[in-house]
């Protein structure tokens, strides 16, 4: 049992390390975030400043809270982002997935290990500098109210993001080229996960519908746990409660992803270009 765990850990370490080295060669690509993150934040700052000019709060959020939400949202994105969907569809489309069929390990685990290496790089070259800019230039409060629960929630958001993205990539087993599907799914994911604006800004019916989908557990829940309170669709939860719900949702999503992968991989025929 322990030998198996050690073996899996060794694989994870080796793949993550190789991915880190591979992407570190393009570290200036990661450093694009140092420009893009603050610029997007500046746009949000102007938009919401204008919107709040005529009123003190919107759906319980003050201007300061809204800006904090966007700041934390941007930072969490650097910790959890991945490209599992693009990578998997590219492997299937080009036929390169064939090499993974021959390896004595699941591609799901390989992709997850890749994500770890990639995000370690993101932590160094994206998260840390942008956090400093937000902290020192924009004076955003970026310290979690309950650090332990915030950390757990971000880890769960990280897992949920991977599982959702990977499931989108799995659709390539059916469609081969999935740029259209991916585009809409990714937009839908970002809107429904609260990346673009707090989900509490949506009409109440929409908020209730979002409670049934996995997307809020990617970003909205970690951000709210970070801020220290959770509320959606008129339902409030304590922080431990919502993190427990998030953990359950991640487990269900993991089962769904593995089942979908097993069904999808049977359809693979090594389509080359």
């Amino acid at each position: 049992m322990f030998r198996k765990i050690y073996r899996y850990f060794d694989i994870l370490k080796a793949v993550a390390s190789a991915t880190y080295k591979e992407w570190a060669a393009y570290r200036t690509h990661s450093m694009v975030s140092i420009f893009v993150g603050p610029v997007y934040f500046l746009v949000q700052f102007f938009i919401w400043k204008a919107v709040y000019a005529s009123r003190g709060s919107i759906n319980g959020f003050t201007l300061e809270q809204t800006l904090t939400y966007f700041g934390i949202s941007a930072l969490i994105e650097y910790l959890i982002m991945d490209f599992a969907d693009w990578n998997l569809q590219m492997l299937i489309h080009t036929g390169k997935f064939l090499t993974f069929m021959l390896k004595p390990m699941s591609h799901v685990y390989f992709a997850f290990s890749q994500k770890i290496g990639h995000r370690i790089l993101g932590f160094i070259f994206e998260f840390t500098p942008v956090m400093l800019i937000f902290l020192l230039v924009f004076r955003i409060t970026i310290f979690p109210v309950r650090p332990f629960w915030a950390l757990i929630s971000i880890i769960l958001g990280y897992l949920m993001r991977f599982l959702v993205d990977y499931s989108i990539g799995i659709t390539a087993f059916w469609f081969t080229k999935t740029s259209g599907i991916r585009r809409v799914f990714l937009l839908f994911r970002d809107v429904c996960s609260g990346v673009f604006f707090p989900l509490a800004f949506l009409p109440e019916l929409w908020q209730k519908a979002l409670m049934l989908l996995p997307f809020q557990f990617i970003a909205y829940v970690p951000i709210r746990v970070f801020i220290g309170s959770y509320e959606l669709g008129g339902i409030s939860c304590s922080i431990p409660q919502i993190v427990a719900i998030q953990a359950t949702a991640v487990t269900v999503m993991a089962i769904f992803t593995i089942v979908l992968y097993k069904i999808g991989v049977r359809r693979f025929t090594g389509v080359g270009t």
């Binding site: 975030s33 420009f35 102007f46 204008a50 919107v51």
Partner: protein
């Protein structure tokens, strides 16, 4: 000139045929472009639905601005914006040489090869949004339409300049697909009325990097609002284009085949 047009049409035909090899993905992609373009207007809808607003601009006026921004992006992506991804791919694979050895202008061949039918969805979405907004507003007069068309051409010039800067940087900054994020972040200021920005920012997006031409000035012209600053922005746009062309040529001269 006629030969150039023939080459362009032939390349266009080939691009269309290549895209049609994945017809289902094309149809889906176009439909999804239409749907995904509704995102920014949807945020605007929520803002106005909550009883807030952008000072001095009604809901349909902002919608019109965003529709015009979408239209200029759609036309650019359909016709020339693909030179960025094409240069990115060719330089990374070392196949850009294939364009250099052909007996035509490299820039012309780059543009001819990047016709992107997928953007039709974006153009439809833009036309739909513009039509919807104009139906709810006072229909513009002939002069407003002329002003709009002139400013719209300038907006395409701005986007062409951006594509030259981005494609040019690809010759040295090999394989950086995140260049789009830089572009998207800078131009995202153009999706909203310039009046919401501080004075220094307004000067920046009008007279330094003329992003205000992408939506704000053409929309103001159609709405009969004051377009003070549009002339200087247009002049800056011409300089911006000249700089873009110089930059692209300079970077092309630095290109060394890196593929194998």
């Amino acid at each position: 000139m006629i030969r150039g047009l023939q080459i362009y049409l032939m390349a266009l035909k080939h691009n269309f045929a290549a895209r049609m090899a994945y017809r289902a993905d094309f149809i889906f992609s176009s439909l999804m472009s239409f749907v995904s373009e509704m995102f920014i207007p949807l945020i605007t809808f929520f803002i106005y639905e909550m009883g807030s607003s952008f000072p001095g601009w009604g809901f349909y006026e902002v919608l019109l601005l965003q529709g015009i921004f979408m239209l200029s992006n759609g036309v650019a992506r359909l016709t020339f914006f693909g030179i960025v991804s094409s240069t990115l791919g060719h330089v990374r694979e070392g196949t850009y040489d294939l364009l250099l050895i052909k007996p035509r202008s490299t820039l012309f061949l780059s543009i001819a090869n990047v016709f992107s039918p997928d953007s039709i969805g974006t153009i439809f979405a833009a036309v739909y949004i513009i039509r919807l907004s104009l139906d709810k507003l006072v229909w513009p007069g002939a002069l407003s339409w002329i002003e709009f068309l002139v400013l719209f051409l300038f907006s395409l010039m701005v986007l062409f300049s951006f594509s030259l800067f981005m494609a040019g940087s690809m010759f040295k900054w090999v394989g950086n697909s995140r260049i789009y994020e830089i572009f998207d972040s800078i131009t995202s200021f153009g999706n909203y009325p310039a009046t919401i920005f501080s004075k220094s920012f307004r000067i920046l997006i009008s007279n330094v990097i003329p992003i205000a031409l992408l939506g704000f000035f053409p929309a103001s012209a159609l709405l009969g609002k004051e377009i003070e600053g549009a002339l200087s922005a247009a002049l800056v746009c011409i300089i911006f284009l000249a700089l873009g062309l110089c930059f692209w040529r300079f970077m092309l001269s630095k290109y060394t085949s890196a593929g194998g």
